[in-house]
């Protein structure tokens, strides 16, 4: 219905008007900074990444292994029971070739973002990360991939300690 309206009543403000500051404008900049407590589960997970390890949590109720780890199982609503060290490889569950940055600007070169089901974790239990050393058109669902880690001295206990996952090389 609104598509039939050619012009609204009143004075239209154009982007050019705003750019030239023809109207009173109030601009406010703030700096909101947070330092979230990682807690038990994420703390151990990040510490593991620093050592080049991926850890999950086992729920004895539903017998799933949760990765990233959580101290509770959302399905059973009970505390998870034990730590499980997982392999640093898995397979692609879904992926997207992205041409936009987080500020919505356009990328010259795309990144490939994927959900990776980690080997040893429960089915459909994956982490989101980047794919590398592979052309976008070569990526396939179920493709086996392995982690490419930063060097030990450069790791800081962050998800970016894994630079990306690449197609798994045959041993």
């Amino acid at each position: 219905m609104s598509s039939k309206i050619a012009k609204y009543e009143g004075t239209e403000i154009t982007p050019e008007d705003l750019r030239r500051e023809r109207y009173l404008m109030t601009t406010y900049h703030t700096s909101l900074s947070y330092a979230w407590s990682s807690g038990v589960a994420t703390g151990k997970y990040l510490a593991g990444l620093k050592e080049g390890e991926i850890w999950g949590r086992r729920c004895n109720g539903c017998e799933r292994t949760l990765v990233p780890p959580r101290m509770y199982c959302e399905q059973c609503f009970r505390a998870t029971s034990s730590w499980v060290r997982l392999e640093d490889r898995g397979k692609v569950v879904t992926y997207s070739v992205s041409y936009v940055n987080s500020d919505a600007s356009r990328r010259d070169q795309p990144i490939i973002v994927a959900v990776i089901e980690i080997a040893g974790g429960s089915p459909m239990m994956g982490i989101l990360h980047l794919l590398g050393e592979v052309a976008p058109e070569k990526v396939r669902v179920s493709m086996e991939v392995e982690a490419v880690w930063k060097s030990q001295q450069d790791r800081e206990g962050a998800i970016t300690d894994i630079v990306y996952f690449r197609p798994r090389r045959k041993e």
Binding site: T26, S31, L32, W36, G39, V40, M71, Y72, F77
Partner: protein, 388 residues
Amino acid sequence: MEKAGRSTIVLLKTGRVEIIGVGYEGFRPVVSDLSTRELMFQAASKAYDDASVNPRRDVGSFICCTEDLWEGWSITDEMVPDQIGAAGRPLCTIPADAVTGLGTAVMHILSGLAEVVVLEAHSKAADVLDKNAVEVMAQEPSLLRPLGATSDTLAGLEMDAFLRTSGFSLKDVNRAVVRGKASALRNPRASYGGKFSEADVESSEILSSPLRVADKAEFAEAGIVLVLASEAWAKKNKRDSVGIDGVAWNSSLPWIEGGEMSVSGYAQRSYSDAVRRAGFKGDLEDFDILELDDTYSYKLLQHLLSLAGTKAAARRILSGKRTALNPSGGSLGVGNLVEASALHRLLECALQLRGEAGSIQVKGAKKALVQSWRGIPTGTGGVAILSR
């Protein structure tokens, strides 16, 4: 004098709603060992055990009182279900204090939407590195924010006006701080108890005159969960419970836009509506326990005066002969739990009415009142009346 309509009022037409379980975790200045989600999980697990309910089976609706800017992420709704047993279940977050959350829970039950409802709120205030930046974001952006006033500046202005118009003195305000800190010494949930003298308060650093550091509640962290059920469900399932007789909440003009400063319109109207709904015929002095908002020391007196109606009645309550005022130590003693502050007051009253308040137990407590405020620069708050 502002004119305002009736508060949003919850009409309990089909029986009471009952608090059948409580749980909490934290209550420390910083809960550094648990994430927000783990804190919530611990509190929820205890509440469900207390209520003997399985959240995956028995709970029909979950409500979290939370504000995105205090959490540090947008659309917090997506971040809260798993850790309180609400994955794949009906859950809503509301950016309001827990008295409003309690009213929402009551409506869920009395409308037939759910028989058992979970109400959650938490504070991870230490995660917010610049709390002042969050508070300033609450100010009107064109006319107020550019002037550079903080929440404490606005509190100082209101406190100054309150002292000139209410009949209460700086000595009364100082005593409120001393009382809160002293009561908190006996409360295991309090982070800021202490033996303060009025001289200690007067010698604390000025924030914005006449407001001093000691007049402001310091931040603390906790997770709190209440489990609520219809009266019929509680009886049928033989649950021990505390009744909610009436809930109301209201907004008034912030004083900086013409609201009153000696009393709080939101508190007055919430109180009169909650009392009417509860069918309570007595005076404020007839409650055994009052847990009133004291985010700032003078606000305790302002809220008390608003509910008591006269300075004489407020002074009788302050004398402590008949009604226990903030036996928990209030926010001044326990800490400012941000969006969980009102739920903390409800928790304290529920424990008192159950006779489980330990060293701060008010003997023979049967009827309690909780009053909440959402903080500067708001004129929003509520009242809940509980009994057993």
